[in-house]
């Protein structure tokens, strides 16, 4: 337990934990397409590490290796037949705009993987993202447990998202298939919506963040069939609103002192 505390009390330790959590899902993705996936993975890793190194050099700092997690997440989400230049281009923009211009991991408010995949879908409408499979959902589970143990995903966000999805789906009178929804949602929920640097950072805020993301997923899907595109956009929108949610929570929290001794 003490070594667990020690591991995640440095940013590199957090990266190590997240990479460990992503290993099973990458294996599943590799098994689906053993020919194309390695090429995508190598291209993505090189791109992410390249930009990490460039920014570290320009800022005269030690290079982090956090780009690895971004590359691992993105390669699971993109279709196997994606052209390499499209991957390199959108991943570069995602890593730079989502993370590096803010000063690196933990200084920004967006997840670089979410930004990269959103840009991919915006820029190339013909690209269809890989839909979550049962194997991928199962492979997410050990990683999710690991991250939960290290406190890098919040159960409030997870539960909030499910409540949001089910509530809005039920409101719109659709039939709700729990297993199907969980299958599609699992990977993106854990690695995109629950990303600790992109989610809200107060406990009530985490609930609201999850609810918002869940509601937006149903809204963006426009029907009972959830698509990965809708989940990615919902994650992006929710993380843009996360600082605002936190700010409102802070204002509410500060009100308590005003009439503490009334």
């Amino acid at each position: 337990m003490r070594s667990a505390v020690y591991l995640t009390s440095s940013v590199s330790g957090v990266t190590v934990a997240q990479v460990m959590a992503l290993v099973p899902t990458s294996i599943v993705a590799a098994l689906v397409d053993p020919v194309r996936y390695p090429a995508l993975l190598v291209a993505a890793l090189l791109t992410a590490v390249f930009w990490d190194a460039i920014f570290a050099y320009l800022r005269k700092r030690n290079a982090g290796f956090h780009g690895i997690t971004t590359a691992l997440i993105v390669t699971v989400l993109v279709p196997a037949d994606l052209a390499l230049w499209q991957l390199v281009l959108t991943l570069s923009l995602g890593v730079i705009l989502g993370e590096l211009i803010f000063g690196g991991r933990g200084f920004g408010f967006l997840g670089p993987a979410v930004v990269a995949v959103s840009l991919l879908v915006f820029s190339f409408p013909e690209v269809q993202l890989a839909n979550g499979s049962q194997a991928l959902a199962l492979a997410t589970l050990p990683g999710a447990l690991l991250l939960f143990f290290f406190g890098l995903v919040s159960w409030r966000v997870i539960l909030g998202t499910f409540v949001g999805v089910f509530a809005l789906a039920a409101l719109s009178g659709e039939s709700v298939d729990v297993v199907a929804i969980t299958t599609i949602l699992a990977f993106s929920l854990i690695f995109l919506i629950c990303d600790p640097t992109a989610a809200a950072v107060t406990n009530p805020g985490r609930w609201l963040h999850g609810l918002l993301a869940g509601g937006l997923i149903v809204l963006f899907s426009g029907g009972s069939d959830m698509t990965t595109e809708a989940i990615v956009f919902a994650a992006l929108t929710a993380s843009i609103f996360a600082p605002l949610i936190d700010h409102l929570i802070i204002l509410l929290h500060a009100r308590r002192w005003r009439n503490a001794h009334a």
């Binding site: 940013v11 330790g13 030690n62 406190g151 950072v201 406990n203 936190d246 503490a260």
Partner: protein
Amino acid sequence: MGHHKIRHGHWPSCSPAPVQAVGDTKVVSKVAVVGADFPQLRPTLKVSLQDQVAAGQVLFTDRKHPQIAHVSPVAGTVVDIEYGPRRTLSAFVIERDPNEVLVHETAPIDDNTEASIRRTLLDRGMWPAFRTRPFGRTPTPESKPVAIFVTATQKTASAPDPHVVLEGRLPAFDKGVAVLTELTEGTVHVCQSKEEPLCQAADRVNVVVFSGTAAAGLPSTHVDRLYPVQSGGQVWTIGYQDVAAIGHLFQTGQYSADRVVSITGAMAKAPKLVRTTLGASLSDVLAGEFAPNARPVFLSGDALTGVEASFLGRFHDQITLNERPAAPAERARRTRFNSISRALIPKTALERALAPRILPVPFMRALSVGDSEAARRLGCLALVEEDLAVLSRLCTSGADYGVLLRHVLDDLMEDAA
């Protein structure tokens, strides 16, 4: 009797628990009044180097508030007066006279009026035992607290148990609490860890039990639950041994510098409680308490918040013997690996690290950019350095949030003045 169960603020204690019985009395050769306990205190000396002083004799007063006297814990000779930056006090060292004879006036002191009580506490050196909340500093002589918190909780499992320490001194403690009620128009909260009350609950004396995590022993937690100071007002906190000393002073007219401390830590031969003096030299207290060939670090305070020191801190009741940290070369190597980024990753463990009701991550962000206004809005007035030690350990940024908090509090204190 109120009972508060604290769920947050857990930190596993890594020091062994001492035998909870006051053992031998450690007679020390040197004691010191250390400036680190009273930052920015500039002394006006009342004695000079090589002077003979009696126990309880005034050594110096605060230049800003000449009424506040600091007194000598023992009889002896002034051997060293060290200054820090800007003529602040660094250390005032007294060599104890081995043939000390107790010549004290032994009449009870008049405690009829508030003015006489204040004057006695100020003149006889008990005033510096109080600390204000917000800010955690010595109160000004005129200030009136809206409540006083007696910290009679056992801070960690390795700290002395107040019920054991106060055994046989309960009348003095009772008297001390009665004196405190004269200083405030509000309530005196006696916060303790065990059910059995240390003093009689009275009209304005409230005995409260705090149990649960490690944070249940911290005065910030007590203040947060009973009288949150963020909405204005100033409360004072004081340790239980000082309350007993105040009672003793008013009952007998004698200044008591007795302090029961626990000796713990990984390197302590036999963790135990000993009786010694305020500001005692740690190497004297610890002689024979560790293996002969070991070279431990002496921390005044517990393993989490303690600081390496030569003398016992004014507000500490624990001495921790730890292993010497890694050699500089190895530390540098380890830091190089860890200090790739100073970012703050909002882990969920941070939410459970503080017992006072504060939103930790926004608060830590406000501290790290030094935004004192935001920090005040988020409730920094409730805290002092010791509360944030857990956050500093957990956080990925490697920042010392205690230091950052002090910068912000200094800012706010200047604004308030």
